[in-house]
Structure formats: structure tokens, C-alpha cells
């Protein structure tokens, strides 16, 4: 057996360890977990489609020597203090102390190309069929470590064409995270819909109140129904019903917890600008509104983990500065088509810049929320990365990351531009190593998270130890 393959013993050990950090299959983990002791960490996974070019991540002020290293994709690092950020990252200038630009991670064990679906969060090959989901994605694993009433919230600017189109931009549809093996998560496409659903219990709208009341009524009825059925049974047949009845009760309990948070929730119901509630929301406004929902969900304590699909290849962009009225097919942009006189790379840049304004909004707002002896941002990590790798037709050679980390983050990242050894080079690291690092740092002792890269002839298990210092 090759070294690059996991051994059965390692696999079992890893599985057991990981199982230790996970809820039993079929349960709804966050609902049963005890409230976290102390201040929880928050995690925001912002991922985007169409690839993220490694070249655009590079600070323009690098020395000639470092530029040469960068060209050759040799490992090196520099303190960002002494460097300019790429133009599109300008909105992060004020947060430079918390910024790490991480390059060199690979993800060839993921489905790449146009879309990756759950791949880049789960480190396996996924093909839009729930059966291809091998495990809970890393955001869900982190959510288990910091339980909350909603456990996890996913927001998305859905693709409406391409290989993995969703029915509409505004629905609740299969998202890009996974609750567990073969269990896709569901994401809110519409910020308005998300607010209605998440804050239904404190809504002042009569229709929402009625809907809320009816849903609770149905759940109570279903719970009683199944409990009555179970009462007349014994042994495994009883368990078959009580399992289901318990799940219904667990959801009711979640709702009860959310109801109990009523006063807090009321304070944090996102006050969305009316334009964000419109039916024909532009992409950029949808993203802004999603960021507001994300913030309110974190600040109110509904969840500690949010996955945010900022865009996806099959999403048709609207509202891009300078070409606001164009409906931009991002696939065309991926193929370098000029849109209304604006070159594809410039279109990409304007989108990225907008994404960074969202990051700025999130970080600034969290920095303004007192928590403990500091602010809420101290206990937050945000990741911005491509879901499908280094380019439009990616092969998983590189997954560039923008990381924003508060001061209580348990990783030694720092204010750095950091290029890790490239794929195949000694010391190379994969998405699996990166996520193992996160999980280990925050209390899940899993030996290795994710699949291995079959093309990589290196020992590739475990965390990136330098970050755990």
C-alpha cells in the first residue's frame, strides 16, 4: 500500500475520533447540544464561483526576489504591514492586521472544473447527487463544536443555469454545504425569505404570524401523533417510531429556544432597505442583503456558523459597477468575453472588490459589537475562497484564501502573505490539511479531514502544524 493512501487503522482511528466530535447519525446535532461554555467562535465561509486566480492575490509591492518566487510558486511569506494590498482588496486596508492571504493549498481530490458543489467544503468529489456527499462539510463540523439554536445557516446567490442550476434565485434549495454523508444542506436564496423564516417567531406581519402559528400547530400534532403510535409498540418497532417522534420534538425544542430568544431576536431583526426586499434584486444588492442577514444571525446568536455562496458560475450577475444594467453570464466571463466594453478580468475585479466591501461590512460591524473584554470580531474567522479552485476550468491545483481572523482565533496566521509549497513539492498542503488544522485547533481531534489526492506522492495527512503553534 502506498504511503499516500490512508491505512485502515488510521482511517478507523480518524473515523472514531471524528465521530467523537460529531452527533450520532440522523440526529439534529445543534438541537441537543449543551450551550457552549464561554464565548463561542464564529465562522463565516464565503465562497464564490468561476475560480479565483492566484495571481490576483499577490501584493503588488513584493520585492523582485519575492516576485520571482511567486512566479515559480516557491514557498515564501511576507508581512503585509510593509506591503500594499491588491487594488481589489482595498476595502480590507483598515483590517490589515487581521488579514492573511494564503496561497498554495490544492484540492485535486475535489470535483473541479466549472463547479465543485460541496467539494471544496467537504474535500471529496461531489457530482450534485446527494449520494456523492461523503461527509459533513467543514463548516458543519465547526458548527458542531459551537452549538447554537440554528446550528448553521447557509445563504446563497444560486446558479440558475449551467450544470447545477437551482429552480430560482429566491427559493430554499440544496446548498453547497452538507450536514453529513448523503445529507445536502438547504440554503436561503432570498434574503427576504431568510429573514421571514429565521425571524418568523418575532415577526409583526400578520401573515407571518399565522404561518408561524400553523407550522407550530402541525409540528405539535405530528409529535403527539407519533408519540401515541409509539406508546402501543415495543422493542425495535417502538424505536422506529420514537426516533422519528424525537426528531420532531427536537425541532420543536429548537423552535422553543428561538422563541425564548424573542427579545434578542427582535433587537436584531435585519432592517433591510426596501430595495433589498424587491423581487428583482440585483446580484450586488442580494449579496449586501445576505451580508445583513448573516450579521444579524451571528449577532443575535441564532447561529455561530454561516456559509455564504457569494456567487456561483451559473449565476447571472447584475449590478456590476459600470455595467449595472447588463445581465452578465459569468461563464462568458470565465471564457474571457468582454462584457459591454469591459474586459473579463476587469469584470472579475469589480466583483471581487464588491465582495471585499461585504467583508469590510461584516468585519467592521462585528468589531463594533462588544463581547467579553473585546469585540465580537475577536471571536470570528472569515474565509473567502473559490469553490472550484484556481480558474474557470480549474483542476484543483490551487485554492487561494483570504482569511480574516480575530485576535482570539486559535491559529497562528498573522498579517501575512503566505505561499505554501506548490502541489507536489515537499511540504505541500491540501484543503484537507487546512480544514484539519481548523478542526484540530477548535477541538475536533480528527487525524485527517477529507479525501487524499491520488496524484500526490507525499504524506498528506494531518494539520498544518505551523498554524497550530
Amino acid at each position: 500500500m502506498n504511503k499516500r493512501m490512508t491505512t485502515r487503522r488510521n482511517f478507523l482511528r480518524a473515523s472514531l475520533l471524528s465521530a467523537g466530535g460529531m452527533a450520532l447519525p440522523g440526529t439534529i446535532p445543534g438541537l441537543f447540544a449543551n450551550p457552549a461554555n464561554g464565548t463561542p467562535m464564529r465562522f463565516i465561509f464565503m465562497h464564490r464561483g468561476n475560480g479565483l486566480f492566484p495571481k490576483v492575490m499577490v501584493p503588488p509591492s513584493l520585492s523582485q526576489q519575492d516576485k520571482a518566487r511567486e512566479e515559480k510558486k516557491e514557498p515564501f511569506e511576507v508581512d503585509l504591514e510593509a506591503h500594499d494590498l491588491p487594488d481589489w482588496m482595498a476595502p480590507l486596508q483598515a483590517h490589515k492586521d487581521h488579514l492573511t492571504i494564503l496561497q498554495g493549498l490544492s484540492g485535486k481530490m475535489c470535483t473541479t472544473g466549472h463547479h465543485s458543489w460541496c467539494s471544496s467544503l467537504g474535500v471529496f468529489k461531489a457530482n450534485e447527487r446527494p449520494s456523492s456527499i461523503k461527509r459533513a462539510t467543514v463548516d458543519f463540523e465547526l458548527a458542531k463544536l459551537y452549538p447554537s439554536p440554528m446550528e448553521h445557516i447557509e445563504l446563497a446567490c444560486f446558479p440558475t443555469d449551467g450544470g447545477n442550476a437551482r429552480g430560482s434565485l429566491d427559493g430554499v434549495a440544496m446548498g453547497f454545504s452538507a450536514r453529513g454523508a448523503q445529507q445536502p444542506n438547504y440554503a436561503f436564496g432570498s434574503p427576504k425569505g431568510a429573514v421571514e423564516e429565521l425571524y418568523q417567531s418575532v415577526s409583526s406581519n400578520k401573515e407571518d404570524q399565522i404561518k408561524y402559528q400553523l407550522e407550530r400547530k402541525v409540528m405539535a400534532f405530528a409529535s403527539e401523533n407519533q408519540a401515541r403510535l409509539a406508546a402501543g409498540l415495543s422493542g425495535i418497532e417502538q424505536t422506529k417510531i420514537t426516533h422519528y417522534a424525537d426528531s420532531i420534538d427536537a425541532l420543536r425544542e429548537r423552535n422553543r429556544k428561538i422563541e425564548a430568544m424573542g427579545d434578542v431576536l427582535r433587537q436584531h431583526v435585519p432592517q433591510l432597505d426596501p430595495k433589498y426586499l424587491a423581487d428583482n434584486l440585483s446580484t450586488l444588492d442580494r449579496q449586501r442583503a445576505h451580508a445583513e442577514v448573516l450579521l444579524s444571525a451571528l449577532i443575535s446568536g441564532l447561529t455561530n456558523v454561516v456559509a455564504f455562496t457569494v456567487d456561483e458560475l451559473g449565476h447571472h450577475y447584475t449590478g456590476i459597477p459600470g455595467i449595472e444594467n447588463e445581465k452578465v453570464n459569468m461563464h462568458d466571463v470565465g471564457h474571457n468575453k468582454t462584457i459591454a466594453g469591459v474586459e473579463a478580468e476587469e469584470v472579475r475585479k469589480r466583483c471581487r472588490h464588491h465582495h471585499m466591501t461585504l467583508v469590510d461590512t461584516i468585519v467592521t460591524r462585528l468589531k463594533g459589537i462588544p463581547e467579553g473584554s473585546g469585540t465580537m470580531f475577536d471571536n470570528t474567522m472569515l474565509f473567502y475562497f473559490p469553490d472550484s479552485g484556481e480558474t474557470h476550468h480549474s483542476q484543483g491545483w490551487e485554492y487561494p484564501f483570504v482569511v480574516m481572523a480575530g485576535r482570539n482565533a486559535k491559529l497562528d496566521l498573522g498579517r501575512r502573505y503566505l505561499r505554501l509549497p506548490y502541489h507536489g513539492q515537499e511540504g505541500h498542503k491540501t484543503l484537507g490539511n487546512w480544514y484539519t488544522t481548523l478542526l484540530n485547533a477548535y477541538g475536533n481531534p480528527i487525524e485527517h479531514y477529507g479525501d487524499f489526492d491520488l496524484t500526490l506522492r507525499l504524506d498528506q495527512s494531518g494539520p498544518i502544524r505551523r498554524f497550530l503553534a
Binding site: 493512501m5 440522523g26 438541537l31 446527494p130 400547530k217 402541525v218 422493542g235 491520488l454
Partner: protein, 844 residues
């Protein structure tokens, strides 16, 4: 288990049966003592004194186990220890073979006491494990087929989770869809069920609903109920006919059921009668039965209160959602009905019987004839069951459909047949669909292998579909089915059209090529097309005209030239067809067919002609004979499914034969064992496996697997036949790949195909084998192998492991197969008319 079973177990001395027993005398004794301090009954203590304490008392404590201190342990610790003892006794792992063995009576005494103690606290882990597929073979094979067991067979009264396919059909039933309308999927419905990935029967009755299912069912119920009411809402004017919450989701049934429409259209509060009518309608659509009086009362109350809060439409919808969330929608209920017979068994109710038969043979609920038989009280006797089962097996349409829509993709569709469920048994039994779960280095396949990706299952998808075709071919002939599937030398490869269509295409192509080959087609293709337009147009298989005529014409002619022109028959789908991805013939050791890009440059000014490649002489008539193949175990799909990412897996292949064909047991690898095959650049993989498994503690288990798996080493991990194995290490590199994704060339070493068959129970068959073909021939002649397949068929159709009390059912099914000349349908009829299928007994 009754006293007859106990007697039979004691007669044969099988300790396993004792696990399923509660020995009344011991049980009473333990119960009596439960009030005071825990004590071990003196007879049991005496057995342990004689056979256990020498290793597991205060002095020895081997394995940190003490069996002389039960009384001192807290309950949890005691139960934990008892569970360990129970498993060791059941597996006959203790006392060790080299030690003096207890008499069968003493074993039964000890095992019975352990079982009774655990049962008092419902704490037996082994009894729970025995319900799972991996433990199916733990019931002794010889006893099962000995004829000694005469217990009345039954299945436990149960709820059996619906399969993914049945769930889809049930949703269609909610909308009362028929005919072509059923051939649709629903964008708002996510299937909450997925069967486990494993080789072997997967759909067991011990799976249960959980929170994951609920989370999926909530939006499903919302969507379904909204669609159920849409037509009536449009009629009432609540929404416009062209108004959709989701523009991409416009489907809805044409009509809302009348009872629902009456409630929605009513101005004012509906009467109890109207609401009850609506409740009964939803019960009928979703659960296939009438609501009982207590259910009506509760649902009426829910509906009334919901109507008060939200009005008629939304109030009614809450009732619809609630019925959809009933666990009964997601379980198949088989509880039994009526008076229990002297053995405590109840017959399936007529409705349960109708569903059980229908779901055994297909995915849909009962057809009209079956429903009618149930309603008329004609689904009671064995003959009633036989009549209906034989009728449905003869029906070519009701159950017809794709074997596995899940493997269909943009380039390939799953094989369609009259009874997909029967094919599914064999694909689960053989486990070849697992090929789609094994990812490969495509370079090692010389670039031919395509891993499953988005929208396609790639190479394994094609191979799985071709294995399905073989299975169906022999099922349709229905003679010597097991033997044929194990030994056939005929296979389907690239068979995407029936034989007759294929013949017509080849005739047209040959005629066209012969007519045009001597024209100036290379230099003046446009002229040749113009001169022969009517001729080309008359040949339906020539898709040349209408678009890029010149390009298509040239492609066809080059394609014909290097196939027909060289005396070979071309594959009947041109390689330049849109989405063409056939390139897996090499995994059968067949020559390749032209790739999708082969004719891409023919219009290029610099095109200098095609390199000379010996393409496959395609057999239009299929199945066709393939050299070096014998049955499914030599099919590339099976071989890949039972391989690893980089290597063959003789251990896995041998284990499959041991467990699936020889009804044997192999314990799981202990977690403390590091199951690695060490690297050695100078040895074949077989040699490396032999080296690492020869230690006594390894060989104890590997002796049951390796000798069966080693002969299959003549097939590599892509399923290719070979006599030599490349030593894929840098020091053996002969040359690097010369093309993109091509394979490096390494020095090779001869593969040994020797093996040994042990465990058929037949001295004429057991013994050394020279290669896999001899092994397979012998397996196919084995009674035990035939019976082992029958056991797995039992598990598939009953959804559970066999009990000793199913002995008569299994013997009857086996005899049905033998006396019918190897008809699998005869096996199915036998199983579905058996007492195991027709009777239910409540679980304790």
C-alpha cells in the same frame, strides 16, 4: 423460538440458537435473585469453573477479563462483560480451540444464562447486530438446509422503511398520476432515502426514520400539499393561472381532488362531513387506506383549528401536510391481522399482502387487480399469493422501468427491463455497482478510464450497465440462472442498440462505404455529396446532411475506411456523435474504438492522414463470446468494485466469495490490526499480500479469503486480463508515457493464478485450483453456492436475515430452483408464497 427449535439446536449442538432463547428455568432463577445480590447460578458457575476461570480469574485475567467477579460489578459493567461473553460464545472463539471444549449441553447452559441476563435489561448487543446484513451468515448453513427444523416460518411484525424508488412512486400516487405522467421527477421533492453503499443486500427492515428524514420531508410536504391545491386555488381566483412562486417550477396536477376543491371553493366554514371527506381523501392518496374513527377525530380537530386561524385553503393544507408527515407514509407496514394461529402468527392483512407482493416485484403500489383481490378477500391463501405473484411476473409492463435511474447520465441510460427489481437483486448480490465508488489513476489505464464525474458515472457507469444487461439476459431466459451468471462466456459490450437495429445500421454503412469509397471523396467531398444526395438521404443511419455536411461526410468516410475498409465492423455509434464517451472496450481486453477527437482535424489544411490503429471488430450480435472471461466475477465492473484505488484486492475478492457464495463468515479485522500491504518493488501484489498475512494470527482469518481471491489476480484492478503484473516502481521504469494521461511502462513479473477452494462441503469440488476459471466452474457446481444465493435472495425479498425458523422456506425455494431447471422466477414465487412472507409475529 419455541421448544421445537430449542430441541433442534440442542440436537445439533449449535450454540448460536441459544442466543435467541430465553431458557425459562434459568430466567426464573435470575429473576428471583434479582431482588437480592447478583449471583451466578451454580450450574453456570460450574461450567465457567471448568472452562473459563483458568484464564479469566483473579490470577490470570487474560485480556483483562475476569469472569469470577460478576457479583461485584455494577449493572453497566456486568452487562458489558456479558455482551463480550455472548459474542465469544456465539462465534465459538472461546474457549480457544486448543483448550478442552465444553459439551454442547454446557455451552447451551452458559449461553442461555448469558442471553437471559441480557434480555432482562434488553441489553444484548449481539442480538441487535444479528439483524444487520453483515451478520446474515451467522445462522448455521448446514442446519438451515438440513430439514431438521420444522418450525412454522414467519417474519416479525414490522415497519420497513420504503426504498428510494418506492418513495418516488408513492409521491406519484399522491398526485394520482398514471401513464406517461408518472415519468417525471418533481423539483420540489428531495428523496430522503438512500440505501447504504455495500456489496450485498442493502434494503433491510431495521433502518429507521430520523431527524435527517424529517428535515427533508418538511419542505417536501410543503411542496406536495401546495401542488395538490393549486388547481382549486386558481379556480377560486386566489392565484392566477400563470402565477408561480418559482418560474422554473410550473408543474402541478391538472385537478385538485374534489373533496379538497369543495373546501377551498366553499364560502364560509365547511361542514364536518366535507372536512371528513377531505381527510379521507388525503388518507387514501397518501396512506392508501381509510382513516379510522380516532384518526378522523384528531384530524378533524386539527383541520378545524387551522381553518379558524388561516381560512379554508391554508387550514386545509395543514391537514394535507400532517398526513404527509405520518411515519406510515415512509414505512411499509406489515403488522399482520386477524386471529393468531397456534404458533402465534398472524396473516398479513389483505392490504398489507397486496403491498408486500407489489413492492417485492417492483416499486409501485398494488395494481388494480391486486387491489381488487385484496378487497374481495382473495389474498389469503398460499394459492392466492401464487396466482398474483405469477400474474405480475408475467406482466411485462406494470413493473417495467430502468434498473437504476441513478446511473443514467448525459451519455448513458440505465438498462430498461420488465422487472428491474429482479435485476436489482443480482446487482446488489454481486455488488458490481460499487465500481462507481472506486476512483482510479487514469494514467495507469493509459488514459482510457474515466472516473465518475458530474453528470456521468464515467467508465464504471458503462461497465455497470453492461453487467446489468447480462443479468437481465439470463433472467429473461430463466434457466440455470445462477450457473449462467457465474460461468457465462458471453458478454454485452457497447450494446446500445438491439441486434436488429445494429444489423440494419451496419448494412447501410457498408453499402454506403462500398458505393462511395472509390469516388473522389477526399479531394471533392462536396461534389460527391451533391452527386449522391438522394442516396445518402435514403440511409437513415447516415447523419450527414443538413448541417456541416462536408465535415460530417468526411468523418463518416474516414471512420468507415479504417473499419469497414479494413474488413472490420465498426461500432454502431459514430465516435464523433455529440457527447460520445465510449472508450472502455480495453477493460475487456478488446481493441479500442476511435476516440471522440480522432476525426477532429480532417478538415485542417495540415491534415496528413490518420495514424494506423487496429480498431475493434465490433460484434453487432450480442451477447458475444469473450476470451478469458467467465461470468460476473470476471466482469470488469465486479473486478473494479472489488479492488482498491491502486491495486487489485484479492482479500476483498476472496471475502466476497467466502461470504456470498460459500455462506461463510470472516470476522472484521480487529481495530488494532494495521491492515497494510507493505511495499516491495520486487514482488507482485499477491506476493506482498502473502508475506504480510502468513503470520498465524493473520492467517486465522486470511485462510478463508486469500486462496479464493488469489486466482483472480489474473485480472488487474481495472478488470483487464493479464499474465504479468507491472512492477510500478521507479527502479522498474522502462519508458515514460508518450501521450497525455498515458501509462508509464514498467518491467513485469508473472502472476500466479493458483488458489484453493475449501468450504463447499463437497470433496469433489474442494481442493486446489489452477486459475479463476476452474475455481468458478467448481463454484457453479456447488450445492452450497446455490443455497447461499438462495439465502441472499431470501434477504432481498424479506428485508431481513434468515432465522432458523425460516429453514422450510429456504429449502422450498432451493427445491423450486432445482426442480424448475434453475428458474429464478420459481425461486421468487416460492419465497413470496412462503409462510415467511405471508405471516407476521409480534416482536417481543
Amino acid at each position: 423460538m419455541n421448544t421445537r427449535a430449542l430441541r433442534s439446536w440442542k440436537t445439533t449442538g449449535r450454540i448460536g440458537a441459544a442466543l435467541l432463547l430465553a431458557i425459562p428455568a434459568l430466567h426464573r432463577m435470575s429473576a428471583g435473585e434479582a431482588a437480592g445480590a447478583f449471583t451466578v447460578p451454580p450450574p453456570v458457575d460450574a461450567v465457567m469453573e471448568s472452562h473459563c476461570f483458568s484464564c479469566h480469574d483473579e490470577d490470570s485475567q487474560k485480556g483483562d477479563i475476569r469472569l469470577d467477579q460478576f457479583h461485584a460489578l455494577p449493572l453497566a459493567g456486568r452487562l458489558d462483560l456479558l455482551n463480550k461473553v455472548q459474542e465469544q460464545l456465539f462465534l465459538k472463539a472461546m474457549p480457544p480451540a486448543k483448550k478442552k471444549q465444553p459439551s454442547p449441553a454446557d455451552r447451551d447452559l452458559l449461553a442461555g444464562w448469558v442471553s437471559a441476563e441480557l434480555k432482562k435489561h434488553q441489553a444484548s448487543k449481539l442480538e441487535d447486530k444479528l439483524r444487520y446484513p453483515a451478520y446474515g451468515n451467522y445462522v448455521d448453513h448446514a442446519t438451515l438446509f438440513s430439514g431438521e427444523i420444522t418450525d412454522a416460518p414467519y417474519s416479525p411484525a414490522r415497519r420497513w422503511l420504503v426504498s428510494p424508488q418506492i418513495f418516488e412512486e408513492r409521491v406519484k400516487d399522491v398526485f394520482s398520476l398514471e401513464g406517461r405522467d408518472r415519468q417525471r421527477s418533481f423539483p420540489g421533492v428531495t428523496n430522503p432515502f438512500l440505501l447504504p453503499d455495500q456489496s450485498g443486500v442493502r434494503d433491510y427492515d431495521n433502518a429507521m426514520l430520523n431527524g435527517g428524514h424529517l428535515l427533508v420531508m418538511l419542505p417536501n410536504a410543503e411542496w406536495i400539499s401546495s401542488k395538490q391545491l393549486r388547481a382549486a386555488r386558481v379556480k377560486k381566483g386566489e392565484i392566477k393561472a400563470d402565477e408561480f412562486p418559482n418560474a422554473n417550477d410550473r408543474w402541478a396536477p391538472r385537478e385538485t381532488p374534489a373533496a379538497f376543491e369543495a373546501v377551498i371553493l366553499k364560502n364560509g366554514v365547511p361542514s364536518d362531513e366535507e372536512l371528513i371527506d377531505a381527510i379521507q381523501t388525503q388518507f387514501g392518496l397518501v396512506l392508501g387506506r381509510k382513516a379510522q374513527s380516532d384518526e378522523i377525530k384528531r384530524y378533524l380537530e386539527l383541520t378545524r383549528s387551522s381553518l379558524e386561524v388561516a381560512g379554508n385553503t391554508e387550514g386545509l393544507r395543514q391537514m394535507l401536510v400532517s398526513v404527509l408527515l405520518e411515519s406510515e407514509f415512509l414505512y411499509r407496514l406489515e403488522l399482520g391481522d386477524g386471529e393468531a394461529d397456534p404458533d402465534g402468527r398472524k396473516r398479513l392483512s389483505p392490504l398489507e399482502a397486496a403491498r408486500a407482493i407489489s413492492y417485492a416485484l417492483g416499486d409501485r403500489g398494488p395494481d388494480a387487480a391486486l387491489r381488487q383481490a385484496a378487497a374481495a378477500g382473495k389474498l389469503i391463501t398460499k394459492e392466492d399469493f401464487r396466482r398474483e405473484v405469477e400474474r405480475l411476473l408475467a406482466d411485462e409492463t406494470y413493473c417495467a422501468g430502468p434498473v437504476d435511474p441513478g446511473i443514467s447520465g448525459k451519455n448513458m441510460q440505465s438498462h430498461v427491463t420488465s422487472h428491474p427489481k429482479l435485476v436489482r437483486f443480482f446487482r446488489e448480490f454481486f455488488g458490481y455497482p460499487m465500481a462507481a465508488k472506486v476512483f482510479k489513476d487514469i494514467e495507469r489505464s493509459d488514459g482510457y478510464y474515466q472516473n465518475p464525474e458530474r453528470g456521468t458515472l464515467g467508465t464504471p457507469g458503462f461497465l455497470i450497465e453492461e453487467a446489468d444487461q447480462i443479468v437481465d439476459w439470463y433472467l429473461q431466459r430463466d434457466q440455470a440462472v445462477f450457473e449462467n451468471l457465474l460461468t457465462t462466456g458471453e458478454f454485452f459490450v457497447y450494446h446500445d442498440k438491439d441486434n436488429e437495429t445494429g444489423r440494419k445500421i451496419i448494412a447501410e454503412w457498408t453499402e454506403a462505404y462500398n458505393k462511395l469509397k472509390d469516388t473522389d471523396w477526399k479531394a471533392n467531398p462536396e461534389k460527391v455529396i451533391a452527386e449522391n444526395r438522394a442516396f445518402i438521404q435514403s440511409k437513415k443511419s447516415l447523419r450527414i446532411l443538413g448541417g456541416h455536411e462536408k465535415r460530417e461526410f468526411l468523418r463518416h468516410m474516414y471512420f468507415f475506411g479504417e473499419t469497414i475498409g479494413k474488413g472490420r465492423t465498426p461500432f454502431t455509434t459514430v465516435s464523433f456523435a455529440h457527447g460520445y464517451t465510449y472508450n472502455h472496450s480495453i477493460f475487456y481486453n478488446l481493441p479500442p474504438t476511435p476516440g471522440v477527437f480522432r476525426y477532429g482535424e480532417i478538415e485542417n489544411r495540415n491534415f496528413k492522414g490518420l495514424d494506423d490503429v487496429e480498431f475493434w471488430d465490433y460484434p453487432v450480435e450480442q451477447p458475444f463470446a469473450l476470451p478469458h472471461r467467465k461470468g460476473i466475477l470476471t466482469h470488469p465492473a465486479w473486478l473494479i468494485a472489488h479492488s482498491s484505488n491502486f491495486h487489485t484486492d484479492p482479500v476483498k475478492r476472496g471475502r466476497w466469495i467466502r461470504e456470498k457464495l460459500l455462506a461463510g463468515r470472516v470476522p472484521d479485522v480487529p481495530i488494532t490490526v494495521d491492515a497494510q500491504v507493505p511495499e516491495d518493488p520486487h514482488k507482485t501484489f499477491r506476493e506482498r499480500v502473502e508475506n504480510v498475512t502468513q503470520k498465524a494470527e493473520c492467517w486465522k482469518c486470511h485462510q478463508h479469503m486469500n486462496p479464493l481471491g488469489f486466482p483472480l489476480e489474473v485480472f488487474d484492478d481495472f478488470g483487464r486480463y493479464r499474465l504479468d503484473e507491472p512492477l510500478e516502481y521507479p527502479e522498474h521504469l522502462i519508458s515514460k508515457a508518450t501521450k497525455k494521461n498515458g501509462a508509464d511502462v514498467f518491467q513485469t513479473k508473472a502472476v500466479s493464478s493458483l488458489g484453493e477452494l475449501l468450504g463447499t462441503g463437497d470433496p469433489d469440488l474442494d481442493g486446489e485450483v489452477k486459475d479463476p476459471f476452474e475455481l468458478i466452474d467448481r463454484l457453479a457446481k456447488s450445492t452450497r453456492v446455490r443455497q447461499s444465493i438462495i439465502r441472499h435472495a431470501f434477504r432481498f425479498f424479506m428485508g431481513r436475515n434468515e432465522l432458523l425458523s425460516d429453514s422450510q422456506t429456504l429449502i422450498a425455494a432451493d427445491q423450486a430452483y432445482v426442480h424448475s431447471g434453475g428458474s429464478f422466477k420459481a425461486v421468487v414465487v416460492s419465497l413470496l408464497t412462503s409462510d415467511s412472507f405471508r405471516y407476521r409475529k409480534p416482536t417481543s
